[in-house]
Amino acid sequence: MSVTRTNQQTAARGYTFIPWNRVLVYACALFVLCWSVGPFLWQMSSSLQLDKRLVSGNPTLLPNPITFGHFINIFVGKSFQRYIVNSIIVAGTTTFLCLLFGAIAAFALARLEIRGRFGILGVILAVSMFPQIAIVAPLYMLASQFGWLDTYRVLIIVYLALGLPLVIWVLFGYFRTIPQSIDEAARIDGARPLAIFFLITLPMSLPGVVTTGLLSFIAAWNEFMFALAFTSDINHQTVPVGIANFTDVHYIPWGDIAAASVVVTLPLVVLVLTFERHIIAGLTGGAIKE
């Protein structure tokens, strides 16, 4: 009897009862951990290994000897920095505009009187579900009419529109959690809605704004199809197109590809791990608790 009670008490705290259950949980957790980071670790290791070690038929996780040759190859031989600069310009501008337009729209929807706000939100969500391949051809024709092919502009505008639905939805959720009485107090003190937005709502939801910014940056940084279709020279192509085109005539330069992957992914991984909690909250509508 006393044993059952202890079990129930431990269960009530969220623990499973039998020790081997715990072992199973840890084994599964370890598996999930290795499965999630394993492939990227191997990519990091590959980027530091000599080509002849990579094809030796006897791969090792720890590079021996360590070489930076692949990194030198991609920057000196393949001007990889050009793609990185393009990507930073495109993704950076997209993020800024997404946050500006998206936050203003989310503020209006969450805090001001707008008729049919849930209808508008629903339409925005539905639009974000459109298959992107369905808009690439018409957009290509429009862009070529405007002479916008091979420009940053066309990518920024497309990514802006593709990123806005998520930004509006996530920020709408954040703004709704700020007590309405705060707006009211400011209004009584004579603040106009735009002042309330910039001086109160935005600073109060800074974690949300940072997360959403990060999400739209990652989306723009990673996008491939539109970049592939709309740009054809190295002066405007983004990182994913650059990596996709990494091939040599005679063999696939796996080491160089690994080095490029590490260069463009490591900053993202660091950012994501830093803002992990906020990102998960943003993506799941704040439903995951500690």
Partner: protein, 312 residues
């Protein structure tokens, strides 16, 4: 001061969204930049695409005439199209089912308390954050037919005797892509389902526990029915997304070998930007769109039924 107090008291009586009554139409103006961008880049092109699908627009020969439903007739008898359609459906079902099931298992594990849970949860965001093109190249290297580390590992544990040419053989290529997609997307699915699991009040499974339910019964009879709507919605979004797969296929196999991994997005892309058949390509993307609507409707009916069951 007194007036302000009266005003605020009055304001309190109105429903929250009415409090900001300004009497001018300008709150709607704040929506204009965002909605204009979405309309210009998503809504207008979709309509333009429908119009293009009724024309024989070809960029190479500069033809551009109205042909009615001719493109769609041609589509129905196009074996390349049906081949890609079947591959896309296979990929969509396989990846959706696998990602939902594995995601559910991972979510159930992460719902437990254990040391380092935060670390595991953070690590799960890594596959999600990596650009899909990088994922593609990464799996291209992992599953390389000659020097791939997957072949090496499977040979070392004795599961394989010789090297397998994963994405180089028509039988395995699509499955290799499914594996890459499962790797990339399952963690995200798990986080969504974990969010759903955590909204289920603990008191419910506690009540079942007191009634003597085993942990399996608590999962099957208490948690799963309550999680069903979340599960279905997550699976629907996943299926719609998987149906559009482009990056992985384009980079890993380019649709080959022998068209065995050609999916609708890659086929459409080739018809648009290699053959420059914008009219026919638009008919293809419209067909994709229609299939997506049917997928969404199928899930939608199922989800509504679940919600009705829950309401009763």
């Amino acid at each position: 001061m007194a007036i302000a107090k009266t005003l605020s008291r009055e304001a309190d009586l109105r429903p929250p969204e009415m409090r900001f009554r300004i009497g001018r139409p300008w709150p709607a103006l704040l929506l204009v930049p965002a909605l204009a961008a979405i309309a210009a880049v998503s809504v207008y092109p979709v309509i333009l695409g429908l119009w293009l699908s009724l024309r024989d627009t070809t960029l190479a020969s500069r033809t551009d005439a109205f042909v009615g439903l001719e493109n769609y007739q041609q589509l129905c008898s196009d074996s390349q199209f049906w081949n890609a359609w079947i591959h896309t459906m296979e990929f969509t079902s396989a990846s959706t089912v696998l990602e939902t099931l594995i995601g559910l298992v991972i979510a159930l594990i992460l719902a437990q308390r254990f040391l380092g849970r935060g670390l595991v949860r953070a690590a799960m965001l890594v596959p999600w954050a990596i650009p899909t093109v990088v994922t593609s190249k990464m799996f291209g290297w992992l599953f390389d037919g000659q020097n791939g580390v997957v072949n090496y590992l499977l040979r070392s544990v004795g599961l394989l005797h010789g090297n397998v040419n994963w994405y180089g053989s028509p039988d395995l290529a699509l499955w290799t892509i499914v594996i890459a997609d499962v790797w990339k997307t399952t963690p995200f699915m798990a986080l969504l389902l974990l969010a759903g699991l955590q909204t289920i009040p603990y008191s419910l499974s506690e009540a079942a526990l007191i009634d003597g339910a085993s942990s399996w019964q608590r999962f099957w009879c208490v948690k799963l029915p309550l999680l069903a709507p979340t599960l279905l919605i997550a699976a629907m979004f996943r299926a719609l997304d998987a149906f559009r797969i482009f990056d992985l296929v384009y980079v890993i196999t380019g649709g080959g070998p022998a068209d065995s991994t050609e999916v609708l997005s890659t086929l459409t892309y080739k018809i648009l930007f290699s053959a420059l058949l914008f009219g026919y390509g638009s008919a293809l993307s419209t067909a994709m769109f229609i299939t997506e609507i049917f997928i969404a409707l199928g899930f939608g009916i199922f989800i509504l039924r679940k919600f009705k069951e829950a309401a009763q």
